[in-house]
């Protein structure tokens, strides 16, 4: 049984967004929700790597989950199972993302995933995907801390192409041994001071360790947006993020924790207007910058 957008919006006091956006693909046809002009955009989703025999079914389930929750667009990447990712491996992932953009036209938008440690190959791949295949942004994971100079050319190209970078991030009060080059909100703030014109998204506040620390670390980095995704459903997260950063800096995401992602937005003590911004308006604003 699906939850209709009407039910969701009524229960969360979020009315249909009225942004009048028509430049992106139309919403899915399978939803039982009534049509409306705005888009609900999940800024952080993943398709399944094809080393899993069930990848096609799992991709379909993601679309079905989005249907049930009233999510129009999923901004997706595919990561390599083994990291650091070599060029052939991240190119392969991006080829599959491009294929999914065709298979789920109007639902899936692509992030180009690269490993900045392979500088020239990454820059070539970003141009191939963004300029040639309509990808909407860049996904960076944990191969390099975002303040590592090897990342700078990637940021400079993102600025040139006017696309956002969604950066994996977390802050724990211990050393995360399996992610020694993890970035956190402080690193992203530092990167934003170096490149204030870059469109940076700090990944999954609700799956990234001490979320209070991260929100405070980003306070004075106004160009960094914060992705609301993750599995942690701590009460108060959205309210603190909106109070400290402003609702215009929050972008809705699930990172595959679907009911957690949508549930926390529904629950948050925020105005209808702020929820509209978070659910899609802010991300749409980023995507529109591509066209000037």
């Amino acid at each position: 049984m699906g939850i209709s957008r009407r039910t969701f919006l009524k229960s969360s006091a979020v009315a249909a967004m009225a942004m009048g956006i028509t430049t992106l693909p139309t919403a899915h046809s399978g939803s039982i929700a009534p049509p409306h002009q705005g888009k609900v955009i999940d800024c952080h989703a993943h398709l399944t790597h094809r080393n899993r025999p069930s990848w096609e079914t799992e991709d379909r389930k993601l679309i079905e989950a989005a249907d049930k929750l009233g999510i129009d667009l999923l901004c997706c990447s595919i990561l390599t199972p083994q990291r650091p990712a070599a060029p052939a491996a991240f190119r392969e992932c991006n080829d599959w993302t491009a294929d999914a953009m065709k298979r789920f036209a109007g639902r899936v938008l692509g992030y180009c995933y690269v490993n900045p440690g392979y500088g020239l190959e990454s820059l070539d791949e970003i141009r191939r995907c963004v300029e040639g295949r309509g990808f909407i942004g860049i996904k960076l994971y944990n191969e390099h801390t975002c303040t590592d100079p090897v990342v700078f050319p990637i940021v400079e190209l993102a600025i040139e192409l006017r696309v956002p970078i969604l950066h994996h991030a977390s802050h724990s009060h211990y050393f995360v041994e399996d992610q020694p080059r993890m970035s956190d909100g402080g690193h992203l703030a530092e990167l934003a001071r170096r490149y204030p014109e870059a469109m940076l998204i700090c990944g999954h506040i609700c799956g990234g360790g001490d979320w209070e620390w991260t929100i405070k670390a980003l306070r004075n980095a106004p160009s960094v947006l914060l992705d609301t995704s993750g599995s942690v459903t701590d009460d108060g997260t959205m309210e603190m993020a909106a109070a400290v950063l402003g609702a215009e800096r929050l972008v809705f995401g699930c990172d595959m924790s679907m009911t957690a992602g949508m549930g926390r937005i529904r629950a948050a003590d925020l105005s209808k207007k702020d929820k509209e911004k978070i659910l899609g308006g802010n991300m749409m604003g980023l995507l529109r910058r591509r066209n000037g």
């Binding site: 049984m1 211990y174 360790g209 979320w211 549930g263």
Partner: protein, 258 residues
């Protein structure tokens, strides 16, 4: 009716909680359509003497017993726990216990814990065990409290077949005998849904298929958690209304004699 078997009142040592007083929690419950909540002291998780948390809870919910059902946090490795249990049951009228073996530094297999489980069973009390309190990635620099391994729960439910356990804040049950069909375990435990996936991997529906809807109970983890993610799980759950009613309230009502 909706009964939340996973709720709390009071302060938590490492994060400010909203809606952690009875009046505020009831207001939140009204807003979300939750009729009753099974509550224990959040402060008792880190108080050395957990009983003081139970005393705070009893005072806080006085006058709200129609909707807030108390559970006692009892640490069987701490002096006087038998007295605490008696007071909590006979004076405070608790419906059961919440156990924190990793926070209170004892083993579920220890003789003191087995004695507590037996004593609770004799009194007709349920025993709920939060697999975790918070996501460990956000833990304080002061401590590192692991989740309760599901394997330790398996041993406990086997060893205490007459006890009734409610497992909170867990997931991954389908990878353990606890969530598997024909597991040979007594049907003396129920699983609360707040961390189960309800879409994609969909452990929620797998558990219903494997164990039956009688073994699942609605819970939110409020006020640690937003209640809406758990409510959404029920809304998207693809089972009949009879099974949903069991999960929403009937199973909890039967176990807790509400």
């Amino acid at each position: 009716m909706i009964v939340d078997v996973n709720a709390y009142l009071g302060h938590f040592a490492f994060r400010r909680l909203r809606h952690n007083a009875a009046a505020s929690l009831l207001t939140l419950m009204d807003a979300k359509g939750i009729d009753k909540a099974v509550v224990s002291s959040a402060a008792a998780i880190t108080y050395r003497n957990a009983q003081t948390g139970n005393e705070e809870l009893a005072a806080e919910i006085a006058g709200h017993r129609d909707r807030l059902i108390p559970l006692a946090v009892v640490n069987p490795s701490y002096a006087g726990w038998r007295d605490d249990l008696k007071i909590c049951h006979e004076q405070f009228g608790v419906a059961g216990l919440r156990l924190y073996p990793k926070w209170h530094n004892y083993e579920l297999s220890s003789p003191c814990c087995r004695e507590l489980a037996d004593a609770a069973t004799v009194r007709g009390l349920v025993i709920s065990i939060p697999i975790r309190v918070e996501d460990n990635r956000q833990r304080s620099w002061l401590l590192n409290v692991p989740d309760v391994p599901l394997g330790e729960i398996v041993q406990l439910v086997k060893a205490c077949p007459d006890a009734r356990f409610i497992l909170l804040n867990g997931l991954g049950y389908t990878g353990s005998p606890l969530g598997q069909n024909g597991n040979g375990l007594p049907a003396n435990y129920a699983i609360e849904i707040s961390r189960l996936s309800a879409l994609l991997a969909d452990e929620f529906e797998q558990l219903i298929a494997n164990l039956g809807a009688e073994r699942l109970m609605f819970g939110t983890g409020m006020p640690f958690n937003y209640p809406d993610p758990a409510l959404l799980k029920l809304e998207v759950l693809n089972v009949g209304n009879a099974d949903k009613e069991k999960i929403r309230s009937q199973n909890a009502a039967a176990w807790l004699r509400l």
